[in-house]
């Protein structure tokens, strides 16, 4: 199972907590997903204050690790302030760092991301950066102190799956020892299975589950896909080949 900053997590699934039809459905989706980490937005679902206490209690009752995020932050300063707030509210050094560079695609701002990651790492945070699959960016993030990388599969909330297979594969090859998580853009369990088959350590989901007609069923679907992908990744899959290879031997016709 994946290890993030020295902490082993019991599942390859991280699940977001936004946009569910109701908190009861959210809790149900978590139960059926078996997710080990819940990402929580600091901006809107503030943790410690009285006002958001009911929601925060519900998240705590899920019994999973909390990964606060800086969702919706468009500048380095805003992201750092939000991270500091998160540390206080949720009592954790973990922070999923989002610095959004483009409001239509919610594409990460790679320059701001590296700057914020450096500042937060220096300040003792354990940063989970939401990034693109750009190799150079990821190298800079690791240099800035990140021990996890979270490239997108596709823009947040699109459900388009793994848009740049080559990029994701080469990232895995270049960072064999850094935990890699596909963060955004997954819409279907098959896409999550694919990410894990590529050797990714985990996937993070939110919209695909929360906006499904039956979020809990979709969560379980993803859990099974992730398990399938993990089994495949350890089972040394066959190499694809161009010519057919009969799987049933034809008796009496050797080497046909």
């Amino acid at each position: 199972m994946p290890v993030f900053y020295g902490k082993e997590v019991a599942s390859r699934m991280m699940l977001g907590t936004a946009q569910y039809p109701s908190p009861a459905i959210l809790a149900d989706a978590f139960r059926r997903s078996g997710a080990g980490i819940a990402t929580v937005s600091v901006r809107r679902e503030a943790g410690g204050d009285q006002a958001g206490q009911a929601f925060w209690n519900l998240i705590q009752e899920l019994g999973v690790a909390i990964l606060p995020n800086t969702a919706g932050c468009h500048s380095v300063r805003e992201a750092i302030t939000t991270a500091q707030m998160a540390r206080e509210l949720f009592d954790t050094n973990w922070i999923k760092l989002e610095v959004i560079g483009h409001s239509d695609t919610l594409q990460p701002d790679p320059f701001g991301l590296v700057e914020a990651a450096q500042a937060l790492s220096d300040d003792g945070f354990e940063v989970f950066p939401y990034c693109t699959e750009d190799l150079v960016l990821c190298e800079r993030l690791v240099k800035a102190g990140c021990q996890v990388l979270m490239p997108w599969g596709a823009p947040i909330g699109t459900g388009l799956g793994l848009n740049n297979l080559y990029g994701l594969r080469s990232l895995r090859a270049h960072f064999p020892d850094t935990p890699l998580v596909v963060d955004a853009g997954l819409g279907l369990p098959s896409q999550a299975a694919h990410a894990i088959e590529l050797g990714y350590d985990a996937v993070l989901l939110n919209t695909a589950v929360a906006k499904a007609g039956d979020p809990a069923a979709m969560a379980e679907g993803f859990a099974k896909a992730v398990e399938a992908g993990a089994l495949a990744a350890t089972a040394d899959p066959m190499e694809p080949r161009d010519m057919a290879a009969p799987s049933t031997p034809v008796l009496g016709m050797p080497f046909s």
């Binding site: 039809p21 109701s22 908190p23 009861a24 958001g52 009911a54």
Partner: protein
């Protein structure tokens, strides 16, 4: 001899409850420290959509089934209901939201540009495709609450701001009863009221968006209610710039003329809700709590009241949302 009923709280839940008990011949007293309906009640800030089918896109089945009866109930109380249905639109890039909505709301039918122009001429330029749910209505919540209050007061319901309770207590205090009710939480909502003579709409319009869905309810005389945010927080004050901006932005996207509209009011409150966003009739000791109407105050208060009154007066167990904690 008629049974004495004391209702705590005079918002939409309490007033609907008073009506149903009065209709069953009970002697009803409503205790509300604020007196007449007003801005202290979360229902004061509501949109007033009676849109059970549309709510079904996200709400559980009983909400839709019970909500379908609301329009008739309000009409029976002498409240003016407009039965023009609901129009659902989305911007060009959010068409997938419209497809999802169509799948999840069986009563929604597709409209083309000409049909949109027929129903809402002012939206014809903005949208070439929309969904329409015919069997839905809307009402203006504030006059509805006020007229229901006056009607009940005239029919013998006692309204007091304090005092001892008599007979069976029905607690309809919303979030104020939070300390008594396990699992009740607040969901903050912000809304805006604007006025413009340049837009005319005959029915509520929902603008679907993955992050900032908007509904806009025409109130007549060029007045429109724009709602509403849903934030997991019990905070009942402090409308934020971000939320108001999102609402206004969405309205502007619906029709550019909203850019010139006069800003009449910014409202904020928190809806009482249980974790599945469905209401409850909960017995604890001698008291019965009717609470958790979430964003469905006008849609579900009649059903909640009807089931509670039937239970207390005739001993019928409610078909939905009943919990016995005695």
């Amino acid at each position: 001899m008629s049974q004495d009923i004391t209702i705590l709280g005079g918002g939409v839940a309490g007033l609907a409850m008073a009506s149903e008990f009065l209709a069953k011949g009970a002697g009803v007293t409503v205790i509300d420290p604020a007196g007449r309906p007003g801005e202290h009640a979360c229902s004061w800030w509501a949109g007033g959509m009676l849109a059970a089918e549309c709510e079904g896109a996200l709400a559980e089945e009983p909400v839709v089934r019970q909500g379908r009866k609301a329009a008739q109930w309000w009409a029976d109380q002498g409240v003016e209901i407009t039965h023009n249905g609901t129009l659902i639109v989305a911007s060009g890039r959010d068409q997938s939201e419209l497809m999802t909505f169509a799948r999840r709301v069986p009563a929604a039918q597709w409209l083309d540009a000409a049909q949109i122009a027929d129903l809402e001429p002012h939206l014809a330029e903005q949208f070439t495709r929309a969904l329409f749910v015919e069997r839905e209505g809307h009402m203006n919540p504030r006059p509805a609450l006020t007229s229901l209050y006056d009607r009940l007061a005239a029919s013998g319901v006692q309204f007091v701001t304090k005092g001892a309770s008599r007979g069976q207590v029905i607690d309809c205090r919303g979030l104020a009863a939070r300390s008594d009710l396990d699992g009740l939480r607040g969901v903050k909502g912000e809304m805006v009221i604007v006025r413009t003579p340049d837009v005319q709409l005959a029915r509520p319009v929902r603008l679907l968006h993955p992050r900032f869905p908007l509904y806009i309810v025409p109130r007549g005389d060029g007045v429109f209610m724009l709602g509403a945010t849903q934030i997991e927080s019990g905070e009942r004050t402090r409308a934020t710039v971000r939320s108001v901006m999102e609402l206004l932005n969405a309205a502007y996207a619906l029709h550019p003329a909203f850019g010139e509209a006069e800003l009449l009011e910014i409202g904020v409150d928190a809806r009482p809700a249980f974790s599945d966003n469905q209401p409850r009739i909960r017995r604890i000791g001698d008291r019965i709590y009717a609470n958790g109407l979430f964003r469905h105050g006008y849609l579900l208060a009649p059903a909640l009241a009807r089931m509670t009154a039937l239970m207390v007066i005739e001993g019928t167990e409610p078909e939905d949302w009943y919990e016995d904690y005695r």
